[in-house]
């Protein structure tokens, strides 16, 4: 078995056709003016020229999913009595996420610590995660707003990817990171890639150097942010232009918060888990109408704090931001989280 592989550009579609016969393959496609992940099928045109607007997180953590169905059954003997039945569905389909960026894959690593590496692992995420192979494409240019190298990552950072590909002039150089990745490389379509290894490495370094560096280091930042917790003036200033929508969180590859709600029609219904955002007023609103984060600056503070302070404090210094820049790029008001962190460092 080869350590690395090479696939001529014209064979990419053949590979995806072959893979999609065995499992479901998600690829980035252009729709309207946005790139998002859709099921691969014949005739689908890939868009690999820029990172997707919407990261592939929804494939492992759907925007909404049924946790279980419930069913009240009337007792035919005594209609006043009913019994209740719950049904969960934990069968998941083997999946490939193809053509996400390294930052997208790292998003799942942020999830893993919370959803898997705990005594109460999330069976839905776990089920999908285990059956999913992630093939990422390294970046060949930074996108507006991205800053991955400042959060300890990079345009070719392999953490989270099973197989990583780098665009070369005539094809793609593939490097496996895990057994799942090696499995894919076994396909006879792949040529030996060893000749391209150095070239790919050089390309990675070149792009790395181009990525914006809003701050030099994050050492001490988690503590610094905590020390600013009560500084309302700072946070009100940073949040003044924020409109408290959920664009930043829903486009974020690392944001993993959710809501649980019940829906019922007649005697049946389901418990649904859906994306939720700490930027929304109702997120922490209690039944008593008390809200610990009733102002938008408190909510923005939580978002920044979670990524750059609470999570790293809990998980060995790992920053819960992959630097993909989507929250900056697509923010209606151009709120810049990297700028906020930089301001906090200097405050």
């Amino acid at each position: 078995m080869a350590d690395t592989g090479f696939l001529p550009k014209e064979k990419l579609n053949t590979l995806l056709e072959a893979l999609s016969k065995k499992l479901q393959v998600f690829v980035p496609v252009l729709e309207g003016d946005v790139v998002l992940f859709r099921r691969f099928a014949s005739g689908v045109t890939l868009c690999l020229t820029r990172p997707a607007n919407l990261p592939p997180k929804g494939i492992l953590f759907p925007q909404s999913e049924t946790l279980f169905n419930f069913n009240f059954k009337k007792d035919p003997e005594d209609l006043k009595k009913s019994s209740l039945e719950l049904k969960e569905n934990l069968d998941f389909v083997p999946t490939i996420i193809f053509g996400g960026r390294p930052c997208d894959a790292q998003g799942f690593r942020i999830y893993d610590r919370v959803y898997l590496e705990t005594d109460t692992a999330d069976p839905y995420y776990k089920g999908r995660r285990e059956k999913t192979t992630i093939i990422t494409l390294t970046c060949n240019a930074p996108s507006p707003g991205c800053f991955c190298t400042s959060v300890g990552r990079g345009p070719a950072e392999s953490d989270g990817s099973d197989l990583m590909m780098t665009e070369m002039e005539k094809g793609y150089f593939f490097e496996p990171m895990t057994e799942k990745g090696e499995e894919i490389l076994k396909d006879s379509l792949f040529e030996d890639g060893s000749a391209y290894k150095q070239q790919a490495q050089k390309a990675h370094e070149k792009v790395s150097a181009l990525v914006k560096k809003p701050f030099a280091t994050l050492e001490g930042t988690p503590e610094k942010l905590l020390s600013l917790f009560d500084n309302n003036q700072f946070w009100e200033g940073e949040a003044a232009k924020c409109i408290s929508c959920g664009a930043c969180t829903y486009l974020c590859p690392t944001c993993y918060c959710f809501n649980i709600t019940d829906e019922e029609v007649g005697n049946t219904g389901e418990r649904i888990r859906s994306w939720d955002a700490c930027m929304f007023f109702h997120f922490t609103l209690e039944a008593s109408s008390h809200n610990p984060r009733q102002n938008k600056h408190q909510r923005l503070k939580n978002r920044v704090g979670h990524k750059f302070s609470y999570y790293p404090k809990k998980y060995n210094g790992v920053i819960a931001c992959c630097g993909c820049g989507r929250c900056i790029r697509y923010c209606p008001m151009s709120v810049d989280i990297s700028g906020i962190v930089a301001h906090a460092q200097g405050a």
Binding site: P62, S64, E65, T66, E270, I272
Partner: protein, 143 residues
């Protein structure tokens, strides 16, 4: 069974308490033969009908929606139906823009004494909806 041949369709009717609901009652008392596809929701006044009621019904399984209130100038609350008329007219124009046939939504005025008129409204609207057929809803998954 529907009065109109074929499978019964789902039609929702929002009827004002003072006129149209009475009109439907009069039609019933008069033993007029009427199709049974209509499910009536009694509202205090046609002015109570939020256009979103109609949208919600059409998006969630209704094949047609009928709103009926007191004739203009006859509103129990003097002007509820005047407001309704403006709102519902706006809605009637918006629906086809979204790809929903405007004939699936009808608003009209029926007084409490107009049992025969009510019968005609229901019959004609039901026929119209049957001509259009069911408003197809694709099976949707949450994922």
């Amino acid at each position: 069974m529907s009065y109109v041949a074929g499978k019964e369709l789902r039609i929702v009717g929002f009827l004002c308490n003072w006129c149209s609901y009475g009109g439907a009652d009069t039609a019933g008392v008069g033993r007029f033969k009427q199709p049974t596809d209509l499910r009536i929701i009694r509202v205090p006044c046609s002015g109570r009908v939020n256009p979103l009621f109609v949208v919600k019904a059409l998006l969630n399984g209704a094949d047609g929606v009928l709103v009926s209130g007191c004739h203009p100038r006859d509103c129990h609350y003097s002007d509820g139906n005047f407001y309704a008329r403006r709102r519902l007219e706006m809605l009637k124009r918006l629906l086809p823009f979204l790809g929903i046939d405007e004939r699936r939504f009808h608003y009209t005025w029926v007084s409490a004494s107009e049992g025969a008129r009510w019968k005609n409204v229901v019959t004609d609207f039901t026929k119209a909806i049957h001509n259009l057929g069911p408003l197809h809803h694709k099976e949707e998954k949450t994922e």
